[in-house]
């Protein structure tokens, strides 16, 4: 039982999941999770992301023919208790019959670690999660954020080969979520542990993931680094699901894209294209040389910036601009698109 020098690499081969009532939760999936990376499964509820995590953890078995490999070894038949993966749940799943220390020490006790070493290791993770002061509290005396820290400490105390987190921040309020997200990020970088993170929150996915797997209806819609997913979405679904996307209808003529509100330079656009996609931050307000003309239909001041909704000949364009300028409804504006920022979908969907 020598510890491998590198963090765990995980491979899924044709892993599908059909539930007893015949629902197909996951279409056959092949996926490589690299040693030491943080991989985020992102998608709306019911997209199969939690099922995938549970298959990796060993809480669900894939359908016949699917295989899960840890560092090249087939662990498909191995139950969760023998896979040595840390699991963090949305509902924390802390043991109410044990106090904080008891919870964190649980895995070590099960493994038969001697009391002295056990205490030392528990202290170590309590300090790492900055919850030493809570050690003798009972679980129902803890706030949501504290509970999630205890849950993380408990999962890490046994030095798992990989850390699996199932929507760990969803039950927390927004401010706490941001704080804990930063902390989890720092923690995962420091530990260098292979981690798999499931969320429906794209901001969380962008911030934490080395790579993101966007899922939809049991299928992988796209796998890639956050920037790749954001700037080069593979499909209409990914483009719509991640961030805000503007869409203008029109047609291509002589290398330019013509819309009712003006024409855009469109290098690389397919001749038959009927629409163009671009992000709000790719558009800027132009004093007079703008390519598109429109009127302000709504303006939301958000502090650091203003989000403008501009009516471009019946089509709505969202623009992000400087927070200092005020806009009146109905005001005429001209918009210019930063060159080379059109989003081209790789597939024809």
């Amino acid at each position: 039982m020598s510890q491998p020098a590198l963090p765990l690499a995980i491979r899924l081969e044709r892993c599908a999941k059909t539930f007893a009532d015949g629902t197909r939760a996951l279409e056959p999936l092949d996926l490589e999770i690299r040693s030491g990376e943080t991989l985020v499964f992102l998608g709306p509820s019911g997209c199969g992301k939690t099922t995938t995590l549970r298959i990796i953890a060993g809480l669900e078995a894939p359908d016949e023919g699917g295989r899960v490999l840890f560092d090249g070894t087939d662990v498909t038949a191995l139950p969760i208790e023998r896979r040595n993966v840390g699991l963090v749940f949305q509902s924390y799943a802390l043991f109410p019959n044990l106090d904080v220390r008891g919870n964190v020490a649980y895995g070590l006790r099960i493994r038969g670690v001697a009391p002295a070493e056990r205490a030392a290791r528990v202290d170590e993770v309590l300090a790492m999660m900055r919850i030493e002061a809570l050690a003798s509290r009972s679980i129902d005396q803890l706030s949501g954020g504290q509970r999630q820290r205890v849950a993380l400490a408990r999962a890490l105390a046994v030095r798992p080969r990989a850390l699996l987190l199932d929507e760990p921040l969803t039950a927390l309020d927004a401010k706490l979520r941001d704080t804990l997200r930063l902390e989890i990020d720092a923690l995962l970088r420091r530990l260098g542990i292979t981690s798999i993170y499931v969320t429906h929150d794209q901001a969380e996915a962008m911030a934490l993931g080395d790579r993101i797997v966007v899922m939809d209806h049991g299928r992988v819609a796209q796998v890639g680094a956050p920037r790749e997913i954001y700037h080069a979405p593979a499909s209409r679904f990914v483009a719509d699901f991640i961030g805000t996307m503007n869409r203008l209808e029109g047609r291509v003529e002589a290398g330019r894209f013509l819309t009712g509100a003006g024409a855009l330079g469109a290098p690389g656009l397919d001749q038959g294209a009927r629409e163009v996609l671009f992000r709000p931050e790719s558009v800027r307000l132009a004093e007079d040389a703008g390519e598109l003309a429109g009127t302000v239909s709504a303006a939301f001041f958000l502090g650091d910036h203003t989000r403008l909704f501009v009516d471009c000949a019946g089509q709505q364009v969202v623009v992000e601009c400087d927070g200092r300028r005020e806009f009146a409804r109905g005001a005429s504006v001209r918009l210019a698109l930063e060159p080379g920022t059109l989003v081209i979908l790789r597939e024809g969907t």
């Binding site: 208790e81 043991f95 649980y106 099960i110």
Partner: protein, 268 residues
Amino acid sequence: MRRRGPAFWCLLAFTLLVCAFLIVPVAMSMLAGVTVNYQSGLSSGLTLRWVAQVWEGYSDTIFRSMGIAVACLACTLVLGVPAAYALNRSQSVPARVIEELLVMPVAIPGLATAMALIVTYNTLGNFRTSWTFILVGHVLFTLPFMVRSVLAVMAAVDLKTLEEGAASLGAGFRQRFFSIVLPNCRPGILAGSLMVVTLSMGEFNMTWLLHTPLTKTLPVGLADAYASLRLEVGSAYTLVFFLMIVPLLVAIQLLARPVQLAGQGAPR
């Protein structure tokens, strides 16, 4: 909150009245058990004679009832807790059907259940004349109470996820069952145990048919005493019943107390 209106006093009076209506007969009955002559009232003096007479004539029924109650508790624990666990785990339709069917012995009149037992097992060796025959009836009747209360707690603490958490930390089935499942079901097991013991101790309906002259239980003996002996003796019997069951219930409560405290924690 200091000033209380007439509505409060009216409600209080009504509550006390209802309490009195319920408690006075019990108190009267217990008092009758230590009165020399109930007809001539308390003026005839107090005595422990009737209690002694009950002890002499019926102490075997008291111990038998306690024995059956404890055995019944043991059976419902051994059968009921694993059954509740299995029902909690399984999401299948048969599991839900079984869960509903479990309540049937409570819904069906005890007389009918008793008759069914007698008709079926009358000829099975010495079973009919053994106290275990009564035990079987009691287990049948009390098992749903144990299963239901344990199931309720299992659902409330989300036992499935707790177990998944324990499993992810390396705990196998046995370890999970004893370190996570049982301790977290403790409140349900306690509530079920109290139910089972009290129901078994007081069960008359079914036991009336199941008993033989040599296997009388306390409630059966009590009916016997009221029917055939002086009212004072029957009342003394009730008093003894009370004195037996109250400490038993308190003891069960105490058994579970330290764990409950640890679970709930002192508020700060």
